[in-house]
């Protein structure tokens, strides 16, 4: 019994990580209908960025990420403004091709720069610290922080979307791009800000990716898959849905692993397929889309 309860708790915590992977993707799709195939690689890229900042300046990763966030915001803003805005239009193929190309460029650029060695973000004792819950169950501090950060990110994104002028512009442009322009909204700038914001979320996802496990330049695509599954399980366009989707995926994986360690990944994908069969629009779809 304890083992199952433990699997449930660890699954929810793992879900926090997947929700962080997915939040940026959800934001990009929600605002500019951009399907970003380089998302996983961008998370890995950000993890390397945090690693470099942390080692060069001798900083703890938790401090290094604070420096990495504004840098990544600017990179995201520039990427959207210079490159991705040109790919958006009625045709869905150009952004897919361009982000797919980006994915290959990032992977190979990282391989060239950092080699294929596994890396890890080091933060001392906190990495292995845990809080005993009694009954032989304990939760790791880092997994717990991951989930809390995911919730904080979702709360903040919801606040930005529903309580600020820029958020209204995000929703207006996603609702009707042409009319938003007639209202004085410069969509290219709005999209660039949205991408900058997504990159800030990517930085936070990268922090926990690097703290919880080893990473190397080739693991991006698998993270992309988890992120996609979380977004689609949750329902397109809802941040809370994305969090729920991440948790469903995390739960399925840990429960699968509990049955048989080899089933972890498979169980996640099966849960995804099961949701698609039962609720093709996800668990919490936006009213109309």
């Amino acid at each position: 019994m304890t083992g199952w309860l433990d699997a449930l708790i660890q699954g929810v915590l793992l879900g926090g990580l997947y929700a962080l992977f997915a939040a940026g993707l959800s934001l990009m799709f929600g605002v500019m209908r951009l399907v970003n195939l380089a998302h996983g690689d961008l998370i890995v890229l950000a993890a390397f960025a945090i690693l470099v900042v942390a080692t060069k300046l001798g900083l703890d990763p938790f401090v290094a990420v604070l420096l990495a966030i504004p840098i990544l915001f600017v990179i995201g803003f520039a990427l959207q403004h210079v490159l991705l805005n040109r790919t958006l239009g009625r045709d869905l193929l150009p952004p897919l091709l361009v982000t797919f190309g980006l994915s290959i460029i990032i992977q190979n650029g990282l391989l060239q720069t950092f080699s294929a060695d596994s890396q890890r973000l080091r933060s001392g004792a906190i990495e292995t610290a845990s809080i005993p819950l009694g009954g032989g169950i304990a939760v790791g501090v880092v997994p717990l922080l991951t989930l809390l950060s995911a919730i904080a990110v979702i709360v903040l994104l919801n606040f930005i979307f529903y309580r600020t002028p820029i958020g209204r512009a995000f929703r207006a442009t996603s609702d009707d791009l042409e009319v938003a322009q007639l209202m004085g909204v410069d969509h290219r700038r709005i999209f660039a800000i949205a991408m900058g914001l997504a990159f800030a979320v990517i930085a936070i996802a990268a922090l926990y990716l690097g703290l919880r496990a080893n990473f190397d330049p080739t693991i991006g695509p698998a993270r992309l898959l988890y992120a996609f599954e979380a977004v689609i399980i949750g329902g397109l366009g809802s941040f809370w849905g994305t969090l729920a989707g991440g948790i469903v995926l995390g739960l399925a994986q840990t429960i699968g692993a509990r049955i048989d360690p080899e089933w972890q990944i498979l169980a996640g994908h099966l849960a995804f397929l099961a949701v698609l069969v039962v609720r093709p629009r996800g668990l919490f779809p936006r009213a109309q889309d």
Partner: protein, 238 residues
């Protein structure tokens, strides 16, 4: 002149939708445009608001050449437009719809514009619907929102595209009163309309388009008497 359109031409391949068109609107003036379907009326609005680029010719607003000026900048310069089929941001509330126009169209903070947005809603009879999602409005309310949102950007020229279509007689009269009220605040109006009596109740000058060309212009009553216009007008009413 507030708006000057000179020698405007737009063609899609061999189809000419605006043919050597000249048009001026003075500050505060109300000009009506009629013409059969396919006469190039909505295209003209798209060219003025910036959704389409002309093949040839010039559009000046307040003396400034609009060639190469993107739609958001045209909005900020003072051009507001409504659509024949209202296109509210359906997932935003009515009030938020106005806030978007006011904040981005005027480059002001939300605090500065909130009150004037409320006043516009009150003037257009939408105040009690301020916090419902725009997607749940009725047709008349959507048309009012379309105007309210354009007004929130504080235009000096308001482009109205068949705003009276599909309304009952009573609703139409209300709308005419509202548009007169907007005029009194000094906003110039360029109004495309098939409901000619509503149009004539507001405008100073009438322009008739057919196949992308201007075929008549002048005092509304006189223009309507012209045989060639009369024929088209009959065609519209039929």
């Amino acid at each position: 002149m507030l708006l000057e359109v000179a020698g405007l031409r737009k063609s899609f391949g061999s189809i000419v939708v605006a043919d050597d068109l000249d048009l001026v609107v003075a500050p505060g003036e109300a000009v009506g445009i009629i013409g059969p379907n396919g006469a190039g009326k909505t295209t003209l609005f798209n060219l003025i608001a910036g959704g389409l680029m002309p093949t040839a010719g010039a559009i000046r607003f307040d003396g400034r050449d609009l060639l190469g000026v993107a739609p958001p900048a045209r909005c900020r310069a003072g051009i507001g437009r409504t659509h024949q089929i209202p296109q509210p941001f359906e997932k935003l509330t009515v009030f938020e719809n106005l806030l978007v126009g006011a904040v981005y169209g005027r480059q002001k903070s939300e605090r500065e514009v909130a009150q004037s947005c409320g006043e516009i809603l009150e003037r257009l009879g939408l105040l009690r619907r301020a916090n419902v999602l725009a997607g749940s409005l009725t047709l008349l309310e959507r048309k009012r929102l379309e105007m309210a949102r354009a007004l929130a950007t504080t235009p000096r020229l308001l482009l109205l595209d068949e705003i009276a279509g599909g309304l009952t007689e009573g609703e139409c009269l209300e709308l005419v009163a509202t548009i007169r009220g907007i005029r009194q605040t000094g906003v110039a109006i360029l109004w495309i309309e098939h409901v000619v009596h509503a149009l004539l109740a507001v405008i100073d000058r009438l322009v008739v388009l057919n196949f992308g060309r201007k075929i008549a212009e002048g005092v509304p009553k006189e223009v309507m008497q012209r045989p060639d216009v009369h024929q088209i007008y009959i065609g519209i009413e039929a």
